[in-house]
């Protein structure tokens, strides 16, 4: 139920892997319209095709049927207009934190001056609190710092859409909130003009961050089960939010969807 016209749009998207008897239809008939500047989470059980959908928007996968359009143009392959934060950070292990962000920025904007790019990398790394660690390699920093670097890298190229593939799933419960704050910080630093699509299986994370939550039905042939609006005002306070009736109702509703209507078969 987007209030403004669709910016990112999925129409009748179906993805089948393999052919013949081995064919496996992961998602079928997905329709989803996302408005400009909206933060949307996709939630569902393992194997419901959440990551498949995200890779499809990223252009790393092509739909078997249906189409994906961004700002009126069809998505045909990967591109820097859609920044992707990989599930396992995807940092290049032989580059420093600084270079990981710099090389991505340099690849997307080869014509910008070097000084300009260096300044931008510094701004990004300061925003996520990693400037003191700029010279370290990924192997020398913690999991949370790696994922913050990955988020900074994705934001640095100023994509029209930011795609997050379970970005915080490998982090412990104490590290997660600081990453959420880093993400909101970066998003706010761009006046929340980025459109964000995040795949997650964490209900609290989805409520805290999203404007809308898309609940997927189970695979195979997974599709959009229900779309839930989150009307909590921003900026949100994580602890205060926990005690509002809006929050508890939402969480209750989502749990009910995931545990009974779309309960996992296995």
């Amino acid at each position: 139920m987007p209030t403004s016209p669709a910016y990112l749009s999925l129409k009748d998207v179906t993805i089948t892997f393999g052919k013949g008897v081995k064919a496996y239809t992961a998602v079928q008939g997905v329709n989803l319209d996302i408005a400009h500047g909206e933060f949307v989470s996709i939630i569902g059980h393992s194997g419901c095709g959440k990551s498949t959908l995200l890779n499809l928007i990223a252009g790393l996968l092509k739909p078997t049927a249906g189409s994906v359009t961004l700002d009126g143009r069809a998505v045909t392959g990967p591109g820097p207009d859609r920044g992707l934060v990989f599930q396992h950070h995807g940092l290049l292990p032989w580059l420093s934190v600084f270079d990981n962000v710099y090389e991505a920025l340099d690849a997307v904007y080869p014509k910008r001056s070097k000084d300009d790019k260096v300044t931008e990398v510094e701004r990004m790394l300061r925003l996520v609190g990693l400037w003191p660690h700029q010279n370290k390699r990924p192997a020398e920093i913690s999991g949370g710092m790696k994922q913050r670097t990955a988020v900074a890298r994705a934001f640095a190229v100023h994509p029209q859409v930011l795609l997050l593939d379970e970005p915080f799933s490998a982090l412990d419960a104490l590290t997660k909130p600081t990453l959420h704050d880093a993400l909101v910080e970066l998003w706010s630093s761009d006046n929340q003009s980025e459109t964000v699509v995040m795949v997650t299986h964490d209900i609290d994370e989805a409520i805290y961050l999203s404007d809308r939550i898309v609940v997927m039905s189970n695979g195979p042939r997974a599709t959009v089960g229900e779309v839930v609006d989150v009307h909590l005002p921003r900026p949100r306070d994580k602890r205060a939010m926990l005690h509002t009736s809006e929050y508890t109702d939402l969480k209750d509703h989502l749990l009910q969807l995931l545990m009974s209507r779309f309960a996992h078969a296995a």
Binding site: A58, G59, L60, G77, P78, G79, P80, R82, G83, L84, F86, Q87, H88, G90, L92, P93, W94, L95, E103, A104, D106, A107, V108, P110, R137, P138, A139, G143, K146, R153, V157, A170
Partner: protein, 285 residues
């Protein structure tokens, strides 16, 4: 995706040595282990020499005689008294020069060929069978081809080393390039890396430890082959020295040369091992 465990190239590749531990304890351990193996080596050598001298006292030299000759050789390594009488340093230098020339030309051909093989499935299918057939051929078999082509024994030896140096580097480079994880390729796609940036920031850094391992193996085989090659070609070099000493019935000199060949081979291998470790990186979850 990246496998869940932390791994380094040191562990994944078939390395000839493994040094565990970190920091000071590792150094102490390495020194102890090194000292122990040197001791073992000397003991074995002495025992072997003693047994051999028991078996045929007139033919094989005693260890003391070998070390005497070795001392004479290494204390005056650079004398030059005509084409058949040069110091051991000059002989080794001639051999090393051939090895490095052949190895350098071989690497310049092998690394790009390996990258091509690793990045293009069709090229791989076409060229790999050829590589697999040529690889098991003893490099010495190429010597006559080199002679016929270059009409010079020295150049034929370099040609032989060139052929020797190709295969391990081609195979390891191709393997490294083929095994670039999909995540890194996706990163390059998502951020629109140019071909050049992909080559220099993803493909080469990822493959470098593999390439260096290939070079290390190539260098090891080249050093093995040069001795046999120079026995065939004559003239100068450590191989010629060994054969010339045999003709002069000086097994002391042969034994001394064997020790020197071993030490230099070890130093070459250590050099490459250092490079491999220098350019390794740790992949993490």
């Amino acid at each position: 995706m990246i496998p869940p465990q932390t791994m380094t190239h040191r562990q994944t590749l078939y390395h000839l040595s493994a040094v565990g531990g970190t920091g000071a304890t590792a150094v102490v351990r390495a020194v102890l282990a090194g000292g122990f193996s040197v001791l073992c080596g000397i003991t074995l050598l002495a025992a072997g020499g003693y047994l051999a001298s028991l078996a045929s006292p007139k033919d094989l030299p005693a260890p003391a005689a070998v070390f005497d000759v070795l001392w004479t050789l290494i204390t005056d390594p650079f004398y030059n008294a005509g084409p058949n009488d040069k110091g051991i340093g000059l002989q080794l230098f001639a051999s090393l020069q051939r090895v490095f020339t052949g190895f350098a030309i071989g690497s310049v051909v092998a690394i790009p060929l390996g990258i091509l093989l690793g990045s293009n499935r069709l090229v791989y299918r076409l060229v790999d069978p050829v590589v697999q057939i040529l690889r098991p051929v003893s490099p010495l078999a190429w010597f006559p081809i080199g002679l016929a082509t270059f009409q010079s024994a020295g150049n034929a030896t370099i040609f032989m080393i060139f052929i020797t140096s190709l295969w391990p580097t081609v195979i390891n480079t191709a393997f490294g390039v083929r095994s670039v994880p999909i995540t890194y390729r996706q990163v390059a796609q998502v951020f629109h890396f140019s071909r050049w940036k992909y080559l220099t920031k993803v493909l080469l850094p990822y493959s470098l430890p593999h390439i260096l391992t290939g070079l290390r193996l190539s260098m090891g085989i080249a050093w093995l082959v040069i001795v046999a090659g120079e026995m065939l070609s004559g003239g100068t070099g450590i191989g010629f020295f060994v054969w010339d000493s045999w003709n002069a019935l000086s097994l002391e000199r042969v034994m001394a040369a064997i020790l020197l060949i071993g030490v230099i081979g070890l130093l070459l291998d250590r050099g490459f091992s250092f490079l491999v470790n220098r350019f390794s990186y740790t992949e993490t979850e």
